[in-house]
Amino acid sequence: MYTYILRRLFLFIPVLFGVTVFVFLVMNIIPGDIASIILGTEATPELKEQLRQEFGLNLPLYQQYWNWISGVFVGDFGNSLRTGAPILPEMLNRFSLTFELTIFAAIISWMIAIPMGILAAVKRNTKGDIGIRFVSLLGVSIPNFALATLLILILSLFFNYYPPVGYVGFLEDPRRNLEILLIPAIVLGTSMAGSLMRMTRSSILEILGQDFIRTAQAKGISQKMVLFKHALRNAIIPVLTIIGMQIGYLLGGTIIVEQIFSLPGLGQMVLTGINQRDFPVVQGTILFIATIFVTVNLIVDILYSYLDPRISYD
């Protein structure tokens, strides 16, 4: 187990390094001159040259990378080209919203998916099971932007309810904050629930078919006890992986939902950066999200090997 964890940690660093190089290179092969993109119609050769000097765009690529990455290491992601404001404080600020939304959505999805998944497994091949499986596959197939749009439409047409706009932080006004995040969290939570439900069902089914369950049943342990004490414990491992992966996805994947509900989160920052061609912002936010994503995956893998010591590398 420990060698696995060590090797996994050891691999984490080159991947992270690769991520920074990838993000940097992608943002630097942009067709066209960044200086003229920023200046637009006001571009004169002198202004462009001045801008290039200011952002170090005349330096060789490796030196630009070094300047950027050495800043990142001390928490300096550079400044926005549009507002001139430093990027890191804004990212952290926006991350708190994305984080809250993620947790909220995750809780909703667990509340739906885990009981339903268990039910479907226990009542295998009954009408209830088939119904739950159908709904969960449908859930996997509905993109969150379609669900969000339809939900907004239904709420406005039939209930005359419009999701509130104008975000306020949890500490300022907890009730209003939760009301604002409720519909987005339901959208994200239900779209996550489908795959989680499927995973819960299949992993419980797999465990229920194993010898030690049959032994427990043969000993005369009640069905409830078998399910909750023996089966669930073992079934939880693959479920946990899916949960971890989903949290990683959510942290980076709230882009669309934040956009639809005008929530000033990290995803919206990426999108605004892209639309305004504010490349330091795009570069910084994508690196930030990817780092979180990789870290969450690392934690999941370590947790997995802790829960299931049979896991080994290769």
């Binding site: 691999l11 080159p14 991947v15 992270l16 690769g18 991520v19 190089v21 990838f22 993000v23 992608v26 943002m27 092969i29 942009i30 067709p31 596959l137 449908l138 996997v140 197939s141 509905i142 993109p143 932007f145 379609a146 749009t149 339809l150 907004i152 439409l153 406005s156 047409l157 990683g248 996805y249 980076g252 994947g253 882009i255 669309i256 956009q259 639809i260 990426v270 999108l271 892209i274 639309n275 795009v282 994508i286 999200i289 990817a290 994503f293 990789v294």
Partner: protein, 276 residues
Amino acid sequence: MKEITDRLRKDKIGMAGLIGVLFIILLAFLAPVIAPYNPTEMFNQHRLERPSTQFWLGTDEFGRDILSRIIYGAQVSIMVGLIAVGIGATFGFIFGLLAGFFKGWVDNTIMRIMDVLFAFPDLLLALAIVAVLGPNLRNTMIAIGIVTIPVFTRLVRASVIAVKEMDFVLSAESIGIKTPRIILRHITPYILAPFLVQITLALSIAILAEAALSFLGLGIQPPHPSWGSMLSDARGYMELAPWIAIFPALFIILTIFCFNLLGDSLRDLLDPKLKS
């Protein structure tokens, strides 16, 4: 192969998925024949009209026929899906074969690059690539194609490593058959089944990604119809004219649902572990 088609025929859910998928593909290929109107033609007197015998699914805010736009949108979805997955599957296949067959530094280099690509949530990676290349049809396909490469690479690599140690490959090697021939004749057929399943599932991911990018305004550009951008544009008018949002949403959901049904059934059919 015949065994598989026979079993698929018995699997009602899988068949339903297959029929749905074929229907969408037919819609895409026959678009110029079956679409009642030009998808970009604006009927100024018929803005936001509800579904009628003249416009079966109604019209949008510019007076364009929604049915025609949905049919041409299917063309965009299927084309992006096929080409993007084609890119992903081809490169994934080559990288996976190289990594699995040669191991050592080739394997290490390829797989570390894949790890880096895996480090980004799918949509974010596609967004970043489109942002750099500029949003249009071609770049959408390239971006989504790149996003699907790592999954195929990992799949092919794992299968190749498993097959390579099997007796029939070892004996082929021992009688001096050349490497390319071993790969082509002995290894490729063996990994075809899981590869096919992955292609079906990747198609649903690619179609979803195109719709998502277009929804964000970073995929297919107007006036070309895409289900994603239709749905996004509809948001401004949907309380007046719900049909302009409902129908594109329905088609996105149904298409992805059918691909998933088919992919799921294929996986069950082709998974050797589940064979009884």
